[in-house]
């Protein structure tokens, strides 16, 4: 039965998350934008205490309520949201590909002791969206794997690298000639010799979040830290189990990125509507287009783009919570939300004039923050490609 009613629990989650965002993220949002690599220690400690009390959420297997909580958190501040301790995308990969033993070994730490971070290292200087082209190698040596290569754009990579208990899931190839079939995920524990933090990136937005480059130089890890099977198997589709798992991780994380994007978009939208209302401009719904002012039309376009993306996001998350395959729907949601957020936040800056462009307010920051959602976890274009292949029923060979 089609239903859009949120449960009382979900409504409470939203309300609490909204208050939390308003009280604790908004007041420090500008500071950590201007002081890029300062550590928001108190904020992190607060989030960690919530995680210890079971109020945090992992990145995968999320229901509607948890995703709406993420939207509210990013309404507060997307950069700060990304500093949240937890297993992060690394945890998502472990849940997607790891055995029960591996999940127990690597993930139970994320609700005890000191704040810890997990991260995922996929992108390389020479391989972004083309994840199958990664060059980092994993070579077996007895009871160990030896990793060599450079990974960049690792969200939360520095916090995972620096803090005890952290771990990084590194995608490497065990057989370059096998292409995608050779791609495997490996868990590297914080403090492993041969792993080096190379660089902290300076970014356009989400500056509270750290983005790291990490080099693996004869980095030895236990043999059992490989996630999934070490075997290189080809399948008929030309795809492979390992690669498919990487992509399956994206099915789970893309709706979350969409939710993050929507949080930023709504922050801008709320701000614009409040400012307009202060100046006596109220959006008149239900009035013919020809009678609306240009500003009203702009705001309605922004709102409907937000709504469209939100509906696609909700559907993708709902499917995930029902264990329905949602690769098409999550890519639709991500592609739409990323682009819609870029447009909405940019329009908001334009509409508010000096209020929009000034660093005194947060609109210009949201425009910079929002842009990341059209890039990470698959650019808008890559998501369009996924959608296109699905709707055309074309393989990656038939549609490059």
């Amino acid at each position: 039965m089609i239903d859009f009613e949120l449960t009382p629990e979900e409504l409470k989650v939203i309300k609490d998350a909204h208050e939390e965002a308003e009280k604790f993220a908004r007041p420090i949002a500008r500071y950590y934008d201007e002081h890029e690599h300062d550590e928001p220690t108190e904020f992190i400690e607060r989030l960690w205490q919530q995680t210890l009390q079971g109020q945090g959420g992992s990145m995968i297997g999320l229901g509607v309520g948890a995703v709406l909580r993420i939207e509210e958190a990013c309404w507060g501040d997307a950069g700060l949201y990304l500093t949240a301790p937890g297993s992060g995308l690394g945890g998502a990969a472990i849940l997607q590909s790891g055995t029960a033993d591996q999940q127990a070994k690597f993930l139970t730490r994320y609700n005890q002791g000191n704040p810890k971070w997990g991260a995922m290292a996929m992108t390389e200087p020479g391989a972004g969206s083309d994840t199958a082209a990664i060059q980092t190698t994993a070579v077996r040596d007895g009871n160990e794997w030896i990793l060599n290569g450079e990974k960049i754009f690792i969200t939360g990579g520095a916090r995972a690298f620096n803090n005890p208990g952290g771990l990084i899931v590194v995608w490497a190839t065990v057989d370059r000639a096998a292409g995608r079939a050779g791609m495997k995920p490996f868990v590297v524990e914080q403090g492993t010799p041969g792993m080096r933090l190379e660089k902290l990136e300076k970014k356009l937005g989400i500056r509270a979040s750290d983005t790291a480059a990490i080099v693996f130089d004869n980095c030895r890890i236990p043999y059992e830290n490989i996630l999934g099977s070490p075997e290189v198997r080809s399948t008929d589709s030309g795809s492979t189990a390992g690669f498919r798992r990487a992509m399956a991780t994206f099915d789970a994380t893309r709706p979350i990125i969409a939710a993050m994007a929507l949080g930023v978009a709504r922050a801008s939208l709320d701000f614009v509507k409040e400012e307009l209302e202060k100046q006596g401009v109220k959006i008149r719904y239900g009035v013919p287009k020809s009678k609306l002012t240009a500003v009203e039309r702009d705001v309605m376009d922004m709102e409907s783009a937000y709504k469209a993306a939100k509906m696609l996001m909700m559907r993708a998350v709902w499917m995930m919570s029902q264990f329905k395959p949602n690769s098409l729907e999550s890519s639709m949601a991500k592609a739409k939300a990323g682009l819609a957020t870029s447009r909405i936040t940019q329009k908001a800056v334009e509409l508010m004039g000096p209020l929009g462009y000034s660093r005194k307010w947060l609109l210009e920051k949201w425009m910079r923050d929002g842009k990341i959602n059209d890039i990470f976890e698959g650019t808008g274009q890559i998501n369009m490609l996924v959608v296109a292949r699905r709707v055309l029923e074309f393989s990656s060979r038939e549609l490059k």
Partner: protein
């Protein structure tokens, strides 16, 4: 609890309507567009399927359970996927029935609804739009004035579907600054039905311009009696219905251009193998889904008796733009072939353009 899964009943209805659209509407829609006529036989078949009577409760002779805008919008999308002219023809009686059902007095329901539950097609319609620029449904220039126990209607209307054959119509008019509905029966004195209009699209649907010259309407014919009707709710229902139909038209155009792009070969491979084409199709698919889900949400709000003005207006604006873009791109994907009337995309493109105009031409 959030769910995007139609109920079993709704799925059955969708399957049935899709079958009808495929087997019947899609067989003749081009011919209908060219000739400007829809065979009576297909209208009879649709009538027998109970699109109208299933919306009417048993106590008035129908087969309907609780009226659901959500179910109706699922149905409207499938019908419009088949053909928009036929959809508007088939559903024209609901322009009369649904407002009476939602807003009518008990006497009005008892008097008018049973006639729509028989085996024979009962034609009805509504007159909302007016033939001038800056048409605004909430500030009509057609007026209704109460005088000696009846109402007097004055003004002009346009885009009134099936007006010439309608046994009754609901005429919306401005009564003291508010839009109210008035039931006008066939042959009412002062009602002049003009010539059939010639439109860019929906060419198979007969629409008319009407003039009301001191047209007298008994006072008990005001929709909802003395207290009148909440026109805003009717407008919202109409916005949802039209949005669902826009999704149906867009989906038809998308599917056709997608299939074409997969088989049309240029430079040695299907044109869909090129991102320039593939990305258009991907975006079309995304926009169609987004508009559909927005329409569902607005319909759901109507069913829950919540104020859906914001959601219905947003989805209407969104779907208007979406259907134009998708049908335009469908023509574009076919290139020169899209411009030729041997392919249907130009027909959907013309029909798609109408949604910004079709205020109040469908209701669910």
């Amino acid at each position: 609890m959030i769910s995007f899964s139609p109920s079993e009943d709704q799925q059955m209805i969708v399957t049935m309507v899709k079958q009808f659209a495929t087997d019947e509407m899609r067989k003749i829609y081009r011919h209908c567009d060219e000739s400007g006529e829809i065979p009576a036989q297909i209208i009879d078949k649709a009538w027998a399927m109970g699109f109208i009577s299933s919306a009417i409760p048993e106590k008035y002779g129908g087969t309907g359970e609780e009226h659901s805008a959500l179910t109706a919008s699922l149905l409207a999308e499938e019908l419009a996927w088949g053909d928009l002219s036929m959809t508007m023809h088939i559903l024209s009686p609901s322009l009369f029935v649904v407002p009476v059902l939602l807003m009518g007095t008990e006497e009005q329901k008892e008097k008018y609804l049973p006639a729509f539950c028989g085996n024979k097609v009962q034609v009805a319609t509504a007159a909302l739009m007016e033939p001038h620029l800056n048409f605004d449904a909430s500030a009509l220039t057609t007026t209704a004035e109460r005088k000696d126990g009846h109402y007097v209607l004055k003004g002009s209307k346009c885009f009134v579907s099936l007006a010439a054959d309608a046994s009754a119509m609901l005429v919306y008019a401005n009564e003291g600054g508010k839009t109210q509905g008035f039931i006008v029966e066939k042959g009412a004195a002062g009602l002049k039905i003009g010539e059939r209009e010639k439109n860019m699209g929906i060419k198979a649907l007969p629409t008319y311009e009407l003039t009301f010259q001191n047209c007298k309407v008994p006072k008990e014919n005001k929709l909802g009696g003395d207290k009148g009707c909440d026109f805003n709710i009717l407008m919202n229902s109409s916005r949802v219905a039209l949005s669902a139909m826009a999704v149906g038209v867009a989906r038809a155009a998308f599917e056709y251009s997608r299939d074409y792009a997969k088989t049309r070969v240029a430079f040695g491979e299907p044109i869909a193998s090129r991102q320039a084409i593939a990305f258009m199709l991907a975006e079309m698919a995304i926009e169609i889904d987004a508009a559909r889900l927005m329409a569902w949400e607005a319909a759901w709000m109507l069913d829950k008796k919540k104020d859906a003005t914001k959601e219905a207006s947003l989805v209407k604006n969104y779907a208007d733009d979406m259907v134009m873009k998708v049908t335009d791109w469908a023509v574009q994907v076919l290139g020169g072939h899209g411009y030729i009337r041997e392919h249907p995309v130009e027909l959907w493109f013309r029909n798609g353009r109408g949604f910004t105009t079709f205020d109040g031409m469908a209701i669910v």
